[in-house]
């Protein structure tokens, strides 16, 4: 197997794939979204539970049901673990940094202080076909956020 492959399927990815954190759909939630990747048919249902409002909005819970490859399942697991218990404002730079690194084709190194286990996913940045897999949960989070905020405003 080539080096590339091991940089993609890191032990951390395999671990999250096998024992995903915060998986399953829970109540209560402020918004639920369902996203599909039409190319491969992967799906994620994601629920977001927000409390508070404005600058102090807190992510109480993120629960999800994901059908997808190891990369996308690990990405969902890692994301949920990053989000839960943080504020929306706090997470914005995390999301932005992660998306920038994933879109950089490997040119941008990930900052572990910001994205934690997310660095283990960055091997995918060099595999353009896999970037979508990794970003899918984040797109779902963003959509759920927009929906939650629309409901609360």
């Amino acid at each position: 197997m080539t080096v590339g492959l091991n940089s993609l399927y890191t032990e951390l990815v395999m671990e999250h794939d096998k024992r995903p954190l915060h998986a399953g759909l829970r109540e209560p939630f402020t918004a639920e979204v369902h996203h599909v990747n039409p190319t491969c048919g992967d799906e994620i249902t994601l629920r977001l539970q927000l409390t508070g409002s404005g600058a102090t909005q807190q992510i109480e819970d993120v629960s999800y049901d994901a059908i997808g490859c190891a990369m996308s399942r690990a990405a969902a697991s890692i994301m949920a673990d990053l989000l839960i218990g943080r504020s929306v404002a706090e997470i914005e730079p995390v999301r932005e940094h992660f998306e920038a690194a994933m879109g950089s084709r490997g040119r941008l190194e990930g900052d572990e202080d910001l994205i934690g286990d997310g660095v283990a996913l960055l091997g995918a940045a060099k595999f353009p076909a896999r970037v979508k897999c990794v970003l899918m949960p984040w797109k779902a989070y963003q959509a759920a956020l927009v929906e939650s905020q629309a409901l609360r405003s």
């Binding site: 197997m1 080539t2 590339g4 492959l5 993609l8 399927y9 032990e11 395999m14 096998k18 190319t39 491969c40 048919g41 992967d42 059908i67 997808g68 490859c69 190891a70 990369m71 595999f127 896999r130 897999c133």
Partner: protein, 425 residues
Amino acid sequence: MNSPSRAFDIQAIRADFPILERMLDPETPMIYLDGGATSQRPRQVLDAEVAFLTRDNAAVKRGAHRMASAATDAYEQARETVAAFVGAPSPDEVVFTKNATEALNLVAYSLGNGDPSTPPALRVGEGDEILVTEMEHHANLVPWQELARRTGATLRWIPMADDFTLDLSDLDALIGARTKVVAFTHQSNVLGTINPVDRLVEAARAVGALTVLDAAQSAPHMPFDVAALGVDFAVLSGHKMLGPTGIGVLWGRYEHLAAMPPFLTGGSMIEVVHLDHSTYAEPPARFEAGTPPISQAVGLAAACDYLTALGMETIAEHERALTDQAVRGLSEIDGVRIIGPSVGPHRAGAVSFDLAGRHPHDVGQVLDSLGIEVRVGHHCAWPLHRRFGLHGTTRASFSVHTTADEVEAFVAGVARTTDFFGGLS
């Protein structure tokens, strides 16, 4: 290891395909097993297009100058070559489209575009039924869904049997007096299943329904003859038969084409244009609006010539042997479930499988790291996958240039994939 077919010099064939020399990285030669998605092109096809473009390129059918005549000759000669390739009684039955998908849309839209002067058999409306199958590629499913939606017709489908062939036990109930169209694939792009065209044609004819054959996967890989098949329409895809992208083929019986309203409209398909109304040219011009894929037609004709020179029966044999080898090899790997019928004459060279529920993206990624380019996902046949409880499969598909060594490498690669994921668990 030798090529499975004797009359077939596989090394000479490979030398015709410049891309086969490509390395994916300095250590990894490419093993291209994705001809079912798009084929590679032999030199002969590339050269034919460049020769045309550096010598005879001009707009076709619109000019009187010598360049326009040369270009028109090349384009119409290509139509004759394609007509001969598919066994069409006349080149006027061959319409060039942009791909197989457009060809299917052309038929579906035209059948909804008629007015009271259109023969009823060529007009789908409220209360009519369109019959497809559960194994169709989206290209031969969604246009019919949309036709049904636009016209108020009803879409029905022939279900799959558990053995990966069509379940025809209820055919009599599915085809009836209301059935206007029966659209089905000749060969499944996922399963490799070759459908019983004669039975479906017979049932459709009995009720006066039109048959539309999706031959995108069959025509490049076996002897193909629309006259013998007895269908009313057939569609082909240039880029799946060693030809260029940007070109597809609709073959239709002339009597139908001559009575059908146009689909795309514009230049070159008209008879007389007034500001407020127009009349339309005879087929095939009626269905070729705007500047057609000219150099692509020349390339496609070169592809037909290339295939014909090898012999379609020889090609089919070659690929059958590779399919047997792949199916046998995969069957010995723990956790592999082949999604397709057992080998035999009704089974062609697309070998899809599931690997212990492992997501096909992950399987494909490991194979790609070994240089083995296979397709993963639902292969534009989502309902078929749903039917078998799958989100996707991994598919290898074989071409004229595929060798037994490559198939062996593929089978070994699948075994290593199991190890890779197994080893880490």
